[in-house]
Symmetry: C2
Subunit: 308 residues, 2 copies
C-alpha cells in the first residue's frame, strides 16, 4: 500500500491528504436539514448528514488527491450510526480508488493491539470465514506502550501489505510536554523516531517502509531533524492550514526526491466554504469550495517543493 | 462516579474489576454454535456470541463485583456488529448497577480528544437533541499528546461526574522502553504521574479525584512509588492473574484506608473454565467457573490487604 500511495502521489502530483473530520458544525444547514427530515434529529440523522457531506467532498476532489484521512473520533461520538457512516466513507473512498488513512491513534498491549490492527487493517476469523471489519489502508498508532504495542500492527501490515503512521511529534501546542523532554540528551520524540526507523526496517515497500510517522507541520525544525532520523519512513504531516502550518514550513519534511511526506488538511478543505477566500461559492456549493481549496493547497506545496 | 465506585468497592468488599475482553477463542463452543446457527458465521454471529457470553458472566458475578472493564478492541475487530455487542454489554451492566470502565485508551489533540470524550463519557448534540453514544462511566486515556489531549476529557468528567484513568505505567513487558526512560532524573512514567495528580486536583470527588491512573500489577515497586506521587488518584491495576501479577504484589497500590486501587482480571475470570483449577465446572458451566474465579481473586486480594 505504501507503493500505491507513492505511485498515486506521483500521478496526482499532490503529496496531500484530505482529512474527513466532519464536525456537525462544518456541515451546511441544507445537508443537515435533509438528513434530519428523513431520520429525525437522531444519531442516524447525524450519520446520514456526515455521509452525504463526505460523499460530496470526495466526489469533488477525488481526481486531485491520492488519499483521505477520516478521523474516527468525529464518527465515534455519534455511536453506532456514526461508525456506520465511517465505514461507508471508507468503502466509498475505495470505490474512488483513494488510499484511506484511518486516523484512529490506537495502541495497547500485545494481544489487544493485535485486535486493533485486525479491526482497522486486517481480517478477523469467524468460524471458517474471514471478514475485514473496517478495512482501511493505513492506521495511525500511539507508541507510548513500546515495541509490544507496535509489533502486532507491523505484523498485520506485512501480511496485508498495509501501513501505519506512528505518532512521533504531534501538531498540538502541548505536544512538547512529554515528547520534547530530553532522554540521554535526545528528546523523547527522537527516541521514538529511532524506533520507528528500526520497526520499519524489515517491513519495506519498494522505496519506503510500511511503517511511517506523524510529525506536525507546526514544528518544521523538528521535521527537518526527524526526516534524517527516519529516511525510509513516510511522514504524515497534520497541522497545515487551520492549525497554522504553511507550505514553506513543509519543505524539510520531504526527501530530495520530492517524496517521503504527505500533508493533511482537514478543516481548511472540508469547511473551505466558511472561509473568506471561498465565501463566493456559497453554502450550496460547499464541495466546489473544497475543490478550490485543494487546488490552492496543491499549488502552495508545489511552490514550496521547488526549494528542494 | 468516583464516589459511586468507591462506595461499591466498600459494599462488595472487592476492589476488583472484571475485564470483559471476549476473544472468540474464550467463548465455549455451544455458545458460538448457537449464535452461528442463528446468524451464520458472520460478524453478526460473532457479536451475538460475545453478547451472550458477556451476559452469562455478568449474571453470574454482578453481585460480587463493583465494576467491569470491557476492552473495546475486542469488539472493534468485529466491526459494527462487534460494537453493537459492546454497547449492549455496557447497557446491560448498567441495568445490573455495575460501574463500567471503558478500556478505550483514546487520546488525540484538543478538539478530537473532545470528540472521544463525548463518544465514551458525554453527550453529543444533534440539532436540538442530546445523545450519549456509548455512555460508559470511566474511560482509559493515553497521555502522549500532553495536557491539551487530556483537558477535554477532564472537562467532560467534571460536567458528567464521570472519570478517566490515564496510562502511567502499563503492564506489558516492553512498557519500559519509553515509560522508564529518565528525564531530569525521573522516569517518564513518574513525570506523567505528576501531571495526573495536577490534572486531577480541580476534579475531585469526596476523597478521590475523577482523574485516575493505570499502573500494571506486573510492576509492584513502581506501584509503590506512584501511589505516593498521586495520593488522590484511583489506580486501575491491570496485569493480575494471566499476565503474572499476584495479590501479594498489589498491597502497595492501595492507600492505608484499603482504597485507592482497583485490580483488573480479564482472561483469569472470563476464561476461568479453561484453567486446570476450574476444569471440573465443564464448558457448559463457564459462568459458574467465572464466579468461582472472582471469589478466589477476592480472597487473594483481601489476604494481601491485611498487610496494610
Amino acid at each position: 500500500m505504501i507503493n500505491k500511495l507513492t505511485a498515486k502521489i506521483k500521478k496526482t502530483e499532490a503529496p496531500i491528504v484530505v482529512g474527513l473530520d466532519p464536525m456537525l458544525s462544518y456541515i451546511p444547514e441544507p445537508v443537515k436539514q435533509k438528513a434530519f427530515a428523513e431520520f429525525g434529529e437522531t444519531l442516524e440523522g447525524a450519520g446520514e448528514a456526515i455521509w452525504q457531506f463526505n460523499k460530496a467532498i470526495v466526489d469533488a476532489t477525488c481526481d486531485l488527491i491520492p488519499a483521505v484521512k477520516p478521523q474516527i473520533a468525529m464518527y465515534e461520538q455519534f455511536g453506532i450510526p456514526g461508525l456506520i457512516a465511517y465505514k461507508k466513507t471508507i468503502d466509498y473512498c475505495h470505490e474512488k480508488d483513494l488510499v484511506v488513512i484511518a486516523d484512529v491513534k490506537r495502541g495497547d498491549i500485545g494481544s489487544t493491539s493485535g485486535a486493533y490492527a485486525t479491526a482497522h487493517l486486517g481480517n478477523v476469523a469467524v468460524g471458517s470465514k474471514q471478514y475485514a471489519a473496517f478495512d482501511a489502508d493505513f492506521a495511525t498508532v500511539n507508541p507510548y506502550l513500546g515495541t509490544d504495542g507496535i509489533k502486532p500492527f507491523v505484523d498485520v501490515c506485512k501480511e496485508e501489505k498495509k501501513g501505519i503512521f506512528i505518532l512521533v511529534k504531534t501538531s498540538n501546542p502541548s505536544s512538547g510536554e512529554f515528547q520534547d523532554r530530553l532522554i540521554d540528551g535526545k528528546p523523547l520524540y527522537e527516541q521514538v523516531a529511532e524506533k520507528v526507523a528500526a520497526w520499519g526496517e524489515d517491513a519495506m515497500g519498494d522505496a519506503y517502509s510500511y511503517v511511517g510517522a506523524v510529525v506536525g507541520a507546526t514544528y518544521p525544525e523538528m521535521g527537518k531533524a526527524l526526516r534524517k532520523v527516519m529516511p525510509k519512513s513516510y511522514i504524515l504531516v497534520p497541522g497545515y492550514g487551520a492549525q497554522g502550518g504553511k507550505g514553506a514550513d513543509l519543505v524539510h519534511f520531504f526527501n530530495k526526491d520530492g517524496l517521503g511526506a504527505i500533508v493533511n488538511s482537514s478543516r481548511g478543505i472540508i469547511a473551505a466554504y466558511k472561509q473568506e477566500a471561498y465565501q463566493s461559492y456559497g453554502e450550496a456549493n460547499f464541495a466546489d469550495a473544497s475543490r478550490a481549496a485543494v487546488l490552492a493547497m496543491k499549488e502552495d506545496i508545489a511552490k514550496a517543493l521547488k526549494q528542494l
